[in-house]
């Protein structure tokens, strides 16, 4: 047995020596991947990327995707189909026993990104070239400079060309032996680019940068800073609108149940939570039965969430709330109890831990406009909130249900005398408010926890919005939500999240002292009713 192993070792050694004779830097680097040390892996990536070997790109990509395997001291690449290929020769292999992927950490990931950047600058795909340019911008690898020049020379896509030029500027500024005029041109390129990354680069020039260049860089950085400060104000307003639309979504259902029906519904937040859990269930079903539909899972969840939350709302109204009309305190306590029951119910069924609701690809990432960065999920939620608001406004204004609801709100007894079944309208209005809370849950599942406590975080804010905006008025809810959202986000950078919230609460209390009926007070007979 021992002799066999020794023979084997000798054989391996022999092969190693033979291959070392013909081997280039690529083959020399391979054993380092098998050493299971991050530093060795990092060094090997650099060597492979610089080797110009035909397999190099394939290998680095495999490492990025966790497909670079090590088994018995040898390195293999597993392709997408699960086939193993020997990294050294490119020959197909049987899957080696006990092969494990090469371990990566952030350091290795950075090296992989930089290597892929410098290797794919000349890729035929514009998207890949753009990523490559960005990677080189971050890595500032001087070795990539010749390729970069060549890429800039033959680039036709304006966006990619801009990115390539920024990358060249970054490399030149980091390169000690680049000429001053080159460096000055680089500073100018970055000044024109004018974003946070450019600022970071300009304020971290390496030691030994000529004095003239440093001065130009400091001046350029100043310019970028004042420009960004301006964008920053716009950005804060956007954050405010985005927070405002979340508040609007959470509060708009309440503005029907509380605003027009006068029911203090503490279980409103739980309707939002139920909507979020419906989204979770829909996604689970899609994941197991029709993965292709995942992109539209939220649209499928919307009507279902409306129905589920709306039906539960009607159930609560019929079984509890209708006995308590006109007794605000008892309604408050009863609905508080219902909210606890619903929370614990969900906790028992789904468990206390968060449930994962995925974000469809079209809602991930951010849109860059000038100095603004608008994340797609927030944009979607803002649009969605306004759409819900408009729909609800139309329903109340132009449908017979809306007419009845308004009539009952304004004068219950008169509406009853006119033949409106006020009982039924109460139930439907409560169902509508709860259903709208349910679809708010679909949207909130994208930015918050889907846990039994989801609703609790929104209930206080929702009441605040409705009371501030003026009870019984949808427009008041809109203005209230936006005002609170924007005020909150403008205060936050100065006061911090905790103090900002306190300041806002105090301001609302003072405001309610002056105008107890909120921003848009209902006038006329409805007030006395």
């Amino acid at each position: 047995m021992t002799s066999l192993r020794r023979l084997l070792q000798a054989f391996v050694l022999l092969i190693g020596m033979v291959s070392a004779v013909v081997a280039g830097p690529y083959e020399d680097a391979l054993p380092k991947f098998a050493a299971d040390s991050y530093a060795d892996t990092e060094a090997a990536i650099g060597a492979v990327a610089g080797s110009g070997h035909a397999q190099a790109l394939n290998l680095v990509e495999a490492l990025r995707d966790g497909r670079l395997m090590v088994g018995a001291g040898q390195v293999y690449i597993r392709d997408a189909a699960g086939q193993f290929v020997e990294a050294a020769t490119g020959r197909s292999m049987e899957a080696p026993v006990g092969a494990k992927p090469v371990r990566v950490n952030n350091r290795v990931r950075r090296a992989v990104e930089a290597a892929l950047g410098s290797m794919t600058l000349l890729s035929p795909d514009a998207g890949i070239r753009l990523d490559a340019a960005r990677a080189v911008f971050r890595s500032r690898d001087a070795a990539a400079l010749p390729t970069l020049e060549k890429a800039i020379g033959q680039e036709s896509d304006a966006a990619v060309k801009g990115a390539l030029e920024s990358a060249r500027a970054a490399v030149l500024l980091a390169k000690p032996d680049a000429s001053s005029s080159d460096k000055l041109a680089a500073v100018e390129t970055l000044r024109a680019r004018g974003d946070q990354d450019a600022l970071a680069l300009l304020s971290s020039l390496p030691e030994g940068t000529p004095a003239g260049v440093s001065e130009a860089a400091i001046k350029a950085a100043e310019g970028i800073r004042s420009r960004l400060a301006l964008w920053n104000a716009v950005q804060n307003v956007w954050y405010g609108i985005s927070l405002g639309s979340v508040l609007l979504l959470a509060a708009i259902g309440l503005s029907i149940t509380f605003g027009t029906m006068g029911v203090i519904n503490m279980a409103h937040g739980e309707m939002v939570m139920i909507g979020a859990y419906t989204t979770f269930l829909v996604q689970e079903a899609i994941r197991t039965h029709a993965p292709g539909l995942f992109g539209v899972s939220l649209f499928i969840a919307l009507p279902l969430a409306f129905l589920v939350a709306g039906l539960i709302g009607i159930l609560i109204e019929r079984t509890v709330i209708r006995f308590l009309y006109g007794r605000a305190l008892e309604t408050l306590l009863a609905t508080w109890g219902i909210s606890l029951i619903l929370q614990q119910g969900v906790r028992t069924i789904f468990g206390p831990t968060n449930r994962e609701v995925g974000t469809p690809a079209w809602m991930s990432g951010a849109l860059e406009i000038g100095g603004l960065s608008l994340t797609y999920n927030r944009v979607a939620i803002v649009i969605f909130a306004f759409a819900v608001f408009a729909t609800l406004l139309l329903v109340l204004r132009y449908t017979s249900l809306g007419l009845y609801v308004r009539a009952v709100t304004q004068n219950r007894r008169m509406a009853g005398s006119m033949g409106i079944r006020t009982n039924r309208i109460d139930a439907l209005a409560f169902g509508l408010g709860s259903g709208v809370a349910g679809i708010a849950g679909v949207a909130l599942s994208q930015i918050d926890n889907v846990s039994p406590n989801l609703g609790q975080g929104y209930i206080i804010d929702s009441f605040m919005v409705v009371v501030f905006g003026g009870v019984g008025n949808l427009w008041g809810t809109l203005v209230g939500a936006m005002t609170l959202g924007i005020a909150n986000k403008l205060l936050e950078p100065y006061a911090g999240a905790v103090l900002g919230k306190i300041v806002l609460l105090v301001a609302i209390i003072l405001f309610i002292q002056r105008r107890p009926r909120g921003l848009f007070a209902l006038k006329g007979r409805a007030v006395e009713a």
Partner: protein, 427 residues
């Protein structure tokens, strides 16, 4: 209508109380009772329910081995419902009514502080399994989670050394654990030569859900040209929206890594982890640790919960260590009398799940390895750094002015806050 129901309820409740008390006395002769004081409802249920399950598993397992001192163990589970004053009431109920021999429980520091007077007054034992801010050592409490020197400081050291981080964002939820930990870290970083302008401290309320401004601030802070990292003591539910916002604004771990002290396998179970790959966490245990002990534990856990997807986490391991230490100490003392167990347990050694042997120290903290892990795509952690030796927990931080002279020693000095300069206890 209402009156009848209320009377019914009262009758039911008192009946339940009486029968509970009767059953309690009837069984007290044959079993040793172990109290489990974890929230099963309310906001903390997300984390604490798992710990209750782990205790039930450990007790069942011990009973299969023949119990303790020839008696069966019996778990007494109560629900303090994430309500801090209720923790104290439930603790009192466990100790005086149910006569438990030891209690395993609490998660948040405020719940621990709330039960402390009860454990002192009634002289019982509490095993506290969660990483916490330190600055405490009580005779009746055993801290099996990490002290700051077993989690926060090694994590910062790792980032400074491996990621060459020079600029630090200390982001936390606004309560005692993050505030104390950040105070210790700030003082530690300054002692390492980090300038005040390179440290940004930010607090947010519990359950904070709108992270747009803060993530944008972090990005801005990180664009000063120096490598930046975020040290997160953000607690519980607020983490999910925080990580979602990081992913959406494109903050990648290769640019600005986030190292978290309160995010484990359980918390990650609710997030799509693909955009988070490479962000870090510092703990004393990861489910991915490849040791035979851990493998066996995970198998037992999955079998016990009958759920193949249940994850394990650090506070669970702390309960495993704490429970085994208590069992050993009771065997050593030959009794469950708290005074005897408190004396016997110091110096007790039990194997932990990461391949080492943890020991109970005279300051009632234990020795633990420190592991730094990076989040993987499957929601598990890849250990990227592990201390060679086990790190003994410090009850009092060396980096705070108020506590650097203090030590705790319940074996010889019989004191939880002995001042080594004035040579006095409690000064």
């Amino acid at each position: 209508m209402l009156n009848v129901t209320r009377r019914h309820l009262m009758a039911l409740a008192s009946a339940a109380l009486v029968s509970g008390a009767v059953m309690g006395t009837a069984q007290a002769q044959e079993t040793i009772k172990v109290g489990v004081l974890h929230s099963l409802s309310g906001t903390m249920a997300i984390s604490e329910t798992t710990l209750k399950d782990v205790m039930l598993m450990l007790i069942e397992e011990q009973n299969k081995k023949g119990g303790l001192l020839g008696k069966k163990l019996e778990a007494v589970v109560v629900d303090p419902a994430s309500n801090w004053p209720l923790f104290a009431e439930k603790a009192r109920e466990l100790i005086s009514q149910n006569k438990v021999s030891a209690v395993f429980g609490c998660w948040t520091s405020v719940s621990r502080k709330s039960v402390l007077p009860v454990f002192k007054e009634l002289n019982s034992i509490l095993f506290y399994p969660v990483q916490y801010e330190g600055e405490e050592s009580e005779r009746n409490v055993f801290y099996t989670g990490a002290a700051p020197n077993q989690q926060a400081i090694p994590a910062v050291d790792y980032l400074a050394k491996e990621e060459k981080v020079e600029r630090w964002v200390l982001a936390g939820t606004d309560y005692v654990y993050p505030r104390t930990t950040n105070k210790i870290l700030e003082s530690y970083l300054k002692s390492k030569g980090v300038k005040a302008e390179d440290i940004m401290i930010n607090y947010t309320p519990f359950g904070h859900s709108d992270w747009q401004t803060i993530v944008a601030d972090i990005k801005k802070f990180g664009s000063a040209g120096k490598k930046t990292a975020v040290v997160s003591t953000i607690n519980g539910d607020a983490n999910v929206p925080f990580y979602k916002e990081l992913a959406n604004q494109g903050v990648k771990a290769t640019d600005i890594p986030v190292v978290a002290f309160s995010v484990g396998e359980e918390e990650l179970a609710g997030i799509d982890t693909k955009p988070l790959v490479g962000h870090l966490a510092a703990w004393n245990y990861f489910q991915s640790v490849d040791t035979p002990e851990n493998k066996a534990f995970i198998e037992k856990w999955k079998a016990f919960t009958k759920n193949d997807k249940r994850v394990t986490n650090d506070p669970m391991e702390a309960h495993v260590i704490g429970f085994n230490m208590w069992v050993k100490a009771v065997e050593k003392a030959g009794s469950t009398d708290p005074d005897k167990v408190i004396d016997a347990i110091v110096g007790v050694e039990v194997p932990n799940l990461t391949g080492g042997t943890s020991k109970m120290l005279p300051n009632h903290h234990i020795t633990k390895p420190v592991l730094i892990g990076e989040i993987k795509e499957d929601g598990q952690f890849e250990t990227v750094s592990q201390t060679d030796a086990l790190v003994p927990g410090d009850a009092w931080s060396k980096y705070l002015d108020g506590s650097k002279d203090l030590i705790a020693d319940w074996k010889d000095l019989k004191c939880g806050n002995y001042n080594t300069v004035t040579k006095k206890c409690g000064a």
